[in-house]
Symmetry: none
Subunit: 419 residues, 2 copies
């Protein structure tokens, strides 16, 4: 069972709007174990929509087309489907009644143009609307089928789940399941990850179809994601295959893996701090509030986050943290900041960043040169040097990730020592 | 001149990642007056990428393909292009030197796999990288051309502007120009904006083809954007039409317009502070470093930004700001925070936020209830109450925008009074 997606809308081709509808449809198809090999976007033009539908139907068993079902003159998806089916459009009595009822429900007067939404290619059936006005369509084309859904995201998703996916599953017989799991890593370059995982690539390739596949996704401040994907006859077998592969990958990558799926670096740090009953204070120079902001984005952060200072200017470091600053780009300053902020907030752990965000050099050092200071429990603070690639935004993002990662690794070491 | 876009990446087909790259490319093409009629997404598979490229080349003069140029085994766009060209891949000496140099620049060891990125189809030329490692490619196919760009958004956009668009413009000869300008607003709801601009909508409609069009784009922490677009025979005429319309719109919207195009709210605030020779200090509770982070994202912010504190917990407000806190969700606390942080950093202006980010109520108040405190020059601090819609992330984003906007309007009033 292969399905393709066609998204209709000139705003997509003009770059005025991001096509999230295709992403939502694709995610649902993947979860249902249905292959999707191509997605196409096309403008509000009858001939070109028909061309896209014909090309998709030549390759796939079914097509989900979204958008272009509204009441205005530029909504022409119905016309294009009728052309592909080689039939006419007729006003469907049920569909017209539903459009009228949708307006009545909201107590609104209906412009006559809205009855365009009740036009249905002869031989197609409708998917009644529950949230808006334009009904969806199920349109047989030989032994294949085109599903047409409205472009409004919540209407689309509701119809997809209620009508399209069940119909696709029925047509597919017992479908396989595609499951993915993402291991999130920090501290290793993409090429280093690839080299470490080389034995797994070879082993998986050798084991033939149905094996887990591994892909990398560099995601800036989110670290590098290692995505495991498998197609299996059912949920249980898919999960079992992912469990086994996750274990292999974790064995090879060790502490570089900080989380799974949506688990962020700061959430991983927060978990370790909470487990150790420690409160964190942050002193940020070039990251400038980015670390604090990511922490406060987590609901419940107040359980382990005491607070922070943004001492971007040297004067602020002296005045607010009361430390000597002989140079901003220095490990000594980073360590002093960590100790000072820990004591300022009465916290257990102080974490500090200082360095050169760019675009200009600072104290003769290149943009991307940075130091992280960590003051943990009663011990003297320590510092480590980083060399971060990219422009100002990237340097700040990667600095945030690296500083949290440095603290995470220290906390892991500490937990193992005391365990 | 017709161009199509092919986005490569299995994560797109699995619905794990939204294809914003195609949107960015499409927007640039539209601005250059170049037609784009189809966009396709395809997985990391040599045959299917080649199939997508062949189909696109059959319809269009040029294809921009993005993604799949990295160093790992699943990056196979180079192989697909070579198959379409009917040539082999060879290691390009210049490309290899550039990949090595990119690593050397960061002082990192290079895994051998990275040299995959220096493989070039025979007959193609490279677009040197300036930000990352994978070079782009310009690949002639008969009288047509395929441009291959890396999938990392900033690298993609940089190469697109530097190499691809100029080359396309040259091939296209003189095309019509589509120009857009965005007026950024804060403080007015979209429906209010629409009502105020109603006379402009009517006037532009009456003036027929070639007129400026107006569209709204609600953009959360970026405010609501009012986009003016015009198609004209050349740059000069397009710019003149936008200038005239901008003047009309500004006359109607007044101070609600805070910037143009990429000018952010914090940049607008920074400009006013610098003009007045004032230094800013921030005290953030529920915005939690988001305000400071947006300020420090601006190069040169140290000219007007003294620093900030993140006092998310009540204890931190007492301990670090040394203020009495009888309630976190209160105008009195916001004003006290603003005064205290101004004095802590020895700044001229203190700006503070406190409130309920959610998801839970705080002190019996609903999520979205928030206060902004402003302490300006020697005067007593004042506070204003906000009611912000949305989830935790949205509340923090809109709180940041609203607090900066409140300060911006105060500074404007002050500047007019003293002028």
């Amino acid at each position: 069972m292969r399905v393709e997606i066609v998204a209709v809308g000139s705003e997509l081709l003009l770059g005025q709007s991001v096509d999230t509808n295709s992403t939502v449809i694709a995610a649902h198809l993947a979860e249902a174990g249905i292959d999707c090999q191509f997605q196409v976007r096309v403008g509000d033009n009858v001939e070109r929509i028909a061309m896209a539908l014909r090309a998709a139907l030549a390759r796939a068993d079914a097509v989900v087309v979204c958008g272009g079902l509204g009441p205005t003159q530029d909504d022409v998806t119905r016309e294009a489907i009728a052309a592909v089916m080689g039939v006419e459009l007729r006003e469907d009595r049920d569909a017209a009644a539903l459009v009228r009822a949708a307006f009545a429900r909201r107590g609104r007067a209906m412009a006559a143009s809205n009855l365009r939404q009740a036009l249905v290619p002869v031989g197609a059936s409708i998917i009644p609307q529950r949230l808006g006005t334009a009904p969806g369509l199920v349109c047989p084309v030989g032994d294949r089928v085109v599903y047409a859904l409205p472009g409004v995201p919540r209407e689309l998703e509701e119809m997809l789940e209620r009508a399209v996916l069940p119909d696709l599953r029925r047509r597919a017989g017992s479908a396989a399941v595609i499951l993915s799991r993402t291991l999130r890593t920090a501290g290793l370059a993409e090429s280093v990850l690839a080299e470490i995982l080389e034995p797994r690539f070879r082993a998986l390739e050798a084991s033939g179809p149905g094996a887990v596949t591994i892909a990398f996704l560099a995601s800036g401040v989110e670290g590098i994601k290692v995505r495991l994907t498998v197609k299996a006859p059912n949920q249980v077998e898919a999960a079992r295959a992912l469990d086994a592969e996750e274990e292999e990958v974790r064995r090879l990558l060790g502490d570089a893996v900080f989380g799974v799926d949506d688990e962020t670096m700061e959430a991983a740090v927060g978990k370790l701090l909470r487990e150790g009953g420690r409160m964190l204070a942050l002193a940020e120079s070039f990251t400038g509030g980015l670390m604090a902001s990511r922490v406060v984005a987590l609901a419940g952060a107040s359980e382990w986050f005491a607070g922070g200072v943004v001492t971007y200017a040297s004067e602020a470091k002296r005045r607010v943290l009361e430390i000597e600053v002989d140079g901003v780009v220095s490990g000594r300053t980073a360590a002093a900041m960590a100790e000072a902020v820990r004591s300022l907030f009465g916290a257990d752990v102080g974490l500090a960043t200082t360095g050169v965000a760019g675009p200009d050099r600072l104290e003769g050092r290149l943009p991307g040169t940075a130091f992280v200071g960590i003051a943990l429990d009663g011990e003297p603070a320590e510092a480590l040097e980083l060399s971060l690639p990219g422009d100002r935004e990237q340097v700040r993002g990667l600095g945030t990730l690296s500083a949290f990662d440095a603290l995470r690794r220290r906390l892991l070491t500490r937990a193992r020592r005391t365990a």
